[in-house]
C-alpha cells in the first residue's frame, strides 16, 4: 500500500527520469564536462594556436596570421635558453630541498607520533597551505630585507633578494605539497614489514634504507610533481624576493603585459607546459600518478 502511494505521488518528471538512468547521467555530466572541456581544454588549445599568430605592428592587436617565428625563437634564442635552464634548475632545487625537509616530518607523523598527535600535526601542516600565497611570499620579503629579521638573527648574513631568496621562498611555499603525499606514502608502509626488519636484526639505518625508502619513493615522486610544476609557473614570488632574477614565468608575463605580445607569451608558455608533461611522463614510470 505504502509503495502504491509513493508511485501515485510520483510526478510526470520523476516518472520520466526514474526509468532512464542514462538520461540522468547525461544531464549530470553535461554541465561540468562542457565547462572543463570547452572552457578549460578549449582555452589550452586556443593558447597553442595563438602561439602561431602575429601581432599587428601598428595597432598591437593580435591577428590570426600564421607564423612560426615565435616558436623558433623560443627554442633558439640564447636568452630564452638560459632562462629556461635557470627555471628548471630552480624547480629541481626547490623539489630536492622540500623532499629533504618533508621526509623526516612525514616519517615522524606516520610512523612515530601517537594517533592523537598525528591528527594534530596533519592539520598543522595542512593549514599553511591555505594561508594566502601572496602573503607568504611577502612574509619572506620582510624576513629577508636588509636589516630584517634574518639579517639580525644571522648577524648580517641574510642572502638578500635574488636567486637564493627565490629558491628559499618557493621551497617554503610548496613544502606542504610535499609533506602531504609523503605522509600518505609512509602511512601505506605496513608496520609489519618494519617490525620484521627490526626483529631480523636490521639497524634503524638499514631498515630505513632497505625497507622504507623503496616503498615511499613513489610518494616522493608524487609530491615532486607539485613542487616542480608550481615552481615552473611562478612569477609572483620571483618578483617579490628575486631582485633582478628572471624566470620563465617572468618572461611570459613581461611579454604579455609590458611588450603586449600575446602570441610570444603563448609561445613561451609552451615551454613550462612541455616540461611538465615530460615530467609527468617520467614520474608515471615510478607509479607516482597513482598516489596523487
Amino acid at each position: 500500500m505504502a509503495a502504491d502511494q509513493g508511485v501515485a505521488k510520483r510526478g510526470p518528471v520523476s516518472a520520466f527520469f526514474a526509468t532512464r538512468p542514462k538520461t540522468r547521467l547525461g544531464l549530470l555530466l553535461a554541465p561540468p564536462l562542457l565547462w572543463l572541456v570547452v572552457a578549460y581544454l578549449g582555452s589550452i588549445v586556443v593558447l597553442l594556436i595563438t602561439a602561431f599568430w602575429s601581432v599587428n605592428g601598428f595597432t598591437g592587436a593580435v591577428v590570426p596570421a600564421f607564423q612560426v617565428g615565435n616558436i623558433v625563437s623560443v627554442f633558439t634564442d640564447p636568452l630564452y635558453r638560459e632562462v629556461t635552464l635557470r627555471t628548471i634548475l630552480v624547480a629541481l632545487s626547490v623539489t630536492v630541498i622540500d623532499a629533504v625537509i618533508a621526509f623526516p616530518m612525514a616519517f615522524y607523523m606516520a610512523k612515530v607520533a601517537s594517533p592523537r598527535t598525528r591528527a594534530f600535526f596533519l592539520v598543522a601542516v595542512t593549514t599553511p597551505l591555505w594561508a594566502s600565497y601572496l602573503v607568504k611570499a611577502y612574509a619572506w620579503r620582510v624576513l629577508l630585507e636588509p636589516n630584517g629579521p634574518i639579517d639580525i638573527v644571522t648577524g648580517g648574513h641574510s642572502p638578500g633578494y635574488g636567486l637564493p631568496a627565490t629558491v628559499i621562498t618557493l621551497a617554503y611555499l610548496w613544502l606542504p605539497y610535499m609533506i602531504i603525499p609523503l605522509f600518505a606514502g609512509f602511512d601505506r608502509v605496513p608496520s609489519s614489514l618494519v617490525e620484521a626488519s627490526a626483529d631480523l636484526g636490521a639497524s634503524t639505518g638499514r631498515t630505513v634504507r632497505s625497507v622504507i625508502l623503496p616503498l615511499v619513493f613513489p610518494a616522493v615522486a608524487a609530491g615532486s610533481i607539485f613542487t616542480f610544476s608550481l615552481s615552473l609557473g611562478d612569477y609572483i614570488a620571483v618578483t617579490i624576493v628575486g631582485g633582478k632574477t628572471q624566470l620563465l614565468a617572468n618572461l611570459i608575463y613581461g611579454q604579455l603585459v609590458t611588450a603586449n605580445n600575446q602570441p610570444l607569451a603563448a609561445a613561451l608558455s609552451i615551454v613550462p607546459l612541455i616540461a611538465i608533461i615530460l615530467y609527468l611522463l617520467a614520474m608515471r614510470r615510478t607509479g607516482a600518478l597513482e598516489s596523487i
Binding site: G6, L134, Y138, G148
Partner: protein, 272 residues
C-alpha cells in the same frame, strides 16, 4: 609507536618535525604581529603595538573596494563550483560508465598545471574568441577562471562523502516508494550537506587568495584583494596598510579550513 627505530633516530625525527612546523608558522605569525607594529617600517622586535594601522586600513578606499570585489568573485566562483563539482561527483560515484577515470583527471587538471598556463590560456580565449563577440574582461571572466580550479575542491569533498555513504539508504528510500526528488531531498542531501558546506568554504578560500589566474582574467578595471596588495607591495608609505590586509588575508584563508574540519570531519582539505 615507532619502537622498531632507535631512540636517537626517534628524537631526531621529532626535532625535525618541530623545526619544520616552526619554519611553516614563523612567517605567518610574523605577518600578523607585524600588522600591529607601531613603527612604519619593519623593526624587530616591534617597538610597540598599535591598532592604528588596522583603523587606517579600514578607511582605505582601495583596500575596501578590492575586498568587495574579492568577496563577489569568491561567491560567484563558489556557486558555480558547487553546482558543477557536485554534479560531477554524483556522476562519478553513483554511475558506472566508460571514461569515469578521465572525468576525475579532467577535474584535477586545472590545479596541476601552473597558474600562468591556465591564466594565459583563459586570457587567450577571452580576448580572441569572446572579445570579438563583445564580451570584455571583468568580474565575470574572473569568476569563470576561479570556478575552473575550484570545481576540484567541491568534487573531492562531495565524492569522498558519497563514497563513505554508500547507496543502501538511497536504495531503501527508492524501495519504499520515494521519488528521485524525495530521495535526494530527504536522504541524500542531508547526508552530504556537511561536505557541501566544507567544499564551499574551501572553494571560497581558494578563490579569495588566488592571484595568478586573476591577474590574467581581470582586465585593468577589476581589483581583487591580492591584486591590490601586489600593486601596493612596492610602495613604502603603503606598507602599514598592506601589512594589515596581509594579516586579514592570512586569517580569512585559515579560518575556513578550521571551520570545514569542524563541520565535516572527513573534509578533504589537503588540496593535493
Amino acid at each position: 609507536m615507532g619502537m622498531e627505530f632507535s631512540r636517537g633516530f626517534r628524537i631526531f625525527l621529532r626535532v625535525c618535525m618541530w623545526i619544520g612546523l616552526a619554519i611553516l608558522y614563523i612567517p605567518l605569525i610574523l605577518i600578523v604581529v607585524n600588522s600591529f607594529n607601531q613603527s612604519k617600517t619593519f623593526s624587530f622586535p616591534p617597538t610597540g603595538l598599535t591598532l592604528q594601522w588596522w583603523i587606517a586600513a579600514s578607511h582605505s578606499q582601495g583596500a575596501l573596494s578590492a575586498l568587495g570585489t574579492s568577496v563577489a568573485a569568491g561567491v560567484g566562483a563558489t556557486v558555480v563550483a558547487l553546482l558543477l563539482g557536485t554534479m560531477a561527483a554524483f556522476a562519478v560515484q553513483r554511475y558506472r560508465f566508460f571514461g569515469r577515470q578521465t572525468i576525475s583527471f579532467l577535474v584535477v587538471l586545472p590545479i596541476t598545471f601552473p597558474g600562468i598556463v591556465t591564466g594565459l590560456a583563459l586570457l587567450a580565449s577571452f580576448t580572441n574568441i569572446l572579445g570579438p563577440l563583445g564580451v570584455g574582461l571583468g568580474i565575470g571572466t574572473v569568476i569563470i577562471g576561479h570556478a575552473t580550479f575550484c570545481i576540484v575542491i567541491v568534487f573531492n569533498n562531495v565524492q569522498a562523502r558519497l563514497r563513505r555513504l554508500g547507496t543502501s539508504l538511497e536504495e531503501a528510500s527508492a524501495d519504499l516508494g520515494g521519488t528521485l526528488w524525495q530521495t535526494f531531498r530527504y536522504v541524500t542531501f542531508p547526508s552530504i550537506r556537511g561536505a557541501l558546506v566544507a567544499g564551499a568554504l574551501l572553494a571560497f578560500a581558494l578563490s579569495f587568495d588566488e592571484i595568478v589566474v586573476t591577474t590574467f582574467t581581470a582586465g585593468p578595471e577589476v581589483q581583487t584583494l591580492p591584486i591590490w596588495i601586489f600593486g601596493n607591495l612596492f610602495r613604502p608609505n603603503q606598507a602599514p596598510v598592506v601589512n594589515v590586509v596581509a594579516a586579514v588575508l592570512t586569517i580569512v584563508a585559515i579560518v575556513p579550513v578550521w571551520l570545514s574540519q569542524r563541520i565535516a570531519g572527513d573534509s578533504v582539505t589537503s588540496r593535493v
